[in-house]
Symmetry: C2
């Protein structure tokens, strides 16, 4: 019997207990022996829960019990989750987590510590909920150089954007519905301002390029500025508005950012709707692969946590399996000004203005949204070049959005 | 330096050499040391190829060389690929393969043999080309009971169906274009009659349920009977016609089959177009996940072969990692008559006939395709119940297709 502990008995923590109980038999088969939740750390008591007798309030009970070989941290937030992870690894216990905040902020250091103590630190559930992405990037795509990763990484904002599209509604209106349905928090800032997606794209960038950026310092724009007008323009262009976390190498340095994009229908990520997540990987041999599924939710996320638990309990800790991340220094970080993509400008003007814009943006792609407004899609260029092209026309843009090809 | 051998220097074999050469440095890093192709077995010589000096014509040279730790079999066809795999495993060499025919027909036996000889037998490239699916099913989804797998598993037929939809063309017409483009073989039977997809769904069924069915004995229907009329009806119903390999458990037994389906737009697999493959997994905790990408092609498929090579060379062979498949006996195989799904019947008739059909099929879903023809979508039922429902109306159906929800 393998003894494990759960830290945090909230949504994902209790979901993890549920997966371990519900699929007990097959998990035991795959681990080679049964897995028992010996302790659950939480501030609260759960006297009526079948596992209520496992609740402890002192992390040291877990750290000092040599029987516990693995700790599943699902507390959320940086502190004390980070300190508890640190202590567990130092005590020679492997750690699995769904906590993207801890992985994005402290992952490099925690991976080093895990290697030093010959244990594992796995975090499949930290990105894309239940969708397999962390492990495939490290195993199935190990034969490839990763060129770029673009993802719909936040279910709440994708739900809002999908509903805005379907109903032609504005952001604030739909946010209220999402909150009523429990898809958005009372304080939705981490979701709608792109902070959650920023943490996740930083993790994917680290897995792809070996450099851990500071999630608080990458260019991050949420969806609070998106209006029915944006979705209308998107629709006319055969695109969907999506909040995208994107990372790629520019001149050998790492670029990562979060921003609303127009995504053309030809890109499979444009069809990822509602609360689902989708992650598109561009690799030098494989080409494009999309990973799609439930990016959040109790059981899907717990399913990924338990996959990590099985992985650790069924294998000996091998140093090779843990990635090595360099904490980003200035020289590792690409200048965001150098990021190149096609860009859509919506401009008030006549047919002659549109001709002028097409010339300036080096493109034939231009359509009229209504009698006096057109959308022009630039050739691939930097934001600065595109703004200069616009300035050269003497026209004013109502708004501009990047395009994810 | 790790020494390996390639069997078969065709499209995937030469692609594998290309991936190993192109991404040499990162592969060496991930394997812990450089990987060298010591031999390439082929009937032909390649005097002008940079690796032409590695060509051998006798398998025994490879089998008898103790330096060779791994053999990558990409010969295609059952024989002598099966015999060579057998000999390599017995000689204590791990084998990786893209050969779905060998895996689907002999996988159970080869996995036993690999375990006995403490080596690995991996086959990520045998299903979905470069798309990660075999390993995710065994690792990321290890915490789940698999409920069903449905896949667009053949790029050639998906290209044909996509083109038929876009151009309203018939099968024969589009087949010629596909052949001219090199997407379909001169003898396209294995693709268009569903034989290739049958091998792949049998492999996915074995991974999901532990039972290896005979790919030659599962219900298999291709796309040769699909006409512009089918795609028109699909379009009116908001569906796409797709050739689907599907497997699930029915009453504890394994069902697997290949057939054209109508796939509603709400199912993400309906958006998998052109030569791409998509595999939808239903799991009891995760829910639905879709794996999408290049299901064939030289470099994508080779990318999966090399991922398996890296996996083996960077880990010690551990018995646990190889699945155990039982060869299906009669008691393991579900009666196809028990398979339940919604079914679309296209029927010649008036509004009163349509009302009669709706009642018989226990449904409200019925639309007129033109003045005298309607499509009615049954409630979920077996084929037999649906046919009985039809018979009870006294109406004749022009055709019938299952629906993949």
């Amino acid at each position: 019997m393998k003894q494990i502990a759960i830290l945090g008995f909230g949504v994902v923590g209790s979901g993890t207990a549920e997966v371990l109980t519900e699929n007990q038999k097959l998990i035991a088969e795959r681990c080679g022996e049964a897995v028992n939740i010996k302790y659950i750390l939480d501030l609260r008591d759960f006297p009526d829960h079948p596992l209520g007798d496992r609740i402890v309030h002192d992390i040291n009970i877990i750290l000092n019990d040599p029987e516990v070989v693995l700790v599943a941290e699902m507390m959320g937030g940086s502190h004390p989750a980070y300190e508890f992870t640190l202590s567990a690894l130092k005590a020679g216990k492997s750690v699995v987590t769904s906590n993207k905040e801890v992985v994005a902020n402290f992952g490099a250091e925690l991976l080093v510590l895990a290697r030093e103590h010959h244990v594992s630190y796995l975090f499949e559930a930290s990105v894309g909920g239940g969708i397999p992405i962390i492990r495939p990037l490290q195993t199935d795509l190990a034969s490839n150089e990763i060129l770029a990763v673009s993802g719909i990484l936040n279910g709440t904002t994708n739900f809002i954007l999908t509903k805005m599209k379907k109903e032609g509604a504005d952001f604030a209106e739909v946010l209220k519905i999402a909150q009523a349905k429990g898809y958005a928090e009372a304080n939705p800032a981490a979701d709608v301002e792109g902070i959650d997606a920023a943490r996740k794209i930083v993790i994917l960038a680290a897995l792809s390029f070996g450099v851990l950026l500071d999630p608080n310092k990458i260019p991050t724009e949420g969806i609070t500025g998106i209006t029915a007008e944006h979705t209308t323009v998107a629709d006319k262009l055969g695109c969907a508005v999506k909040l995208i976390g994107h990372t790629e190498r520019i001149d050998g340095k790492v670029y990562a950012a979060v921003s609303p994009y127009l995504v053309p229908a030809a890109n499979p990520i444009s069809h990822v709707d509602d609360v689902f997540n989708g992650i598109l990987v561009d690799a030098n041999m494989l080409g494009r692969a999309l990973f799609y599924g439930a990016g959040a939710g109790k059981l899907p996320t717990a399913s990924a946590v338990v996959a990590d638990i099985i992985d650790i309990l069924s294998h000996k800790a091998e140093e090779r399996r843990l990635p090595q991340w360099k904490i980003a220094e200035d020289g590792d970080i690409a200048d965001p000004e150098l990021y190149v993509c096609r860009r859509c400008y919506v401009i008030e003007g006549c047919a002659r203005c549109a001709e002028k814009a097409k010339k300036a943006f080096d493109t034939e792609e231009c359509i009229f949204i209504n009698d006096s407004q057109f959308a022009v899609v630039s050739a691939p260029m930097t934001a600065k070049s595109a703004d200069q092209a616009l300035a050269s026309t003497g026209l004013d843009a109502k708004f501009c959005m990047p395009i994810l090809d």
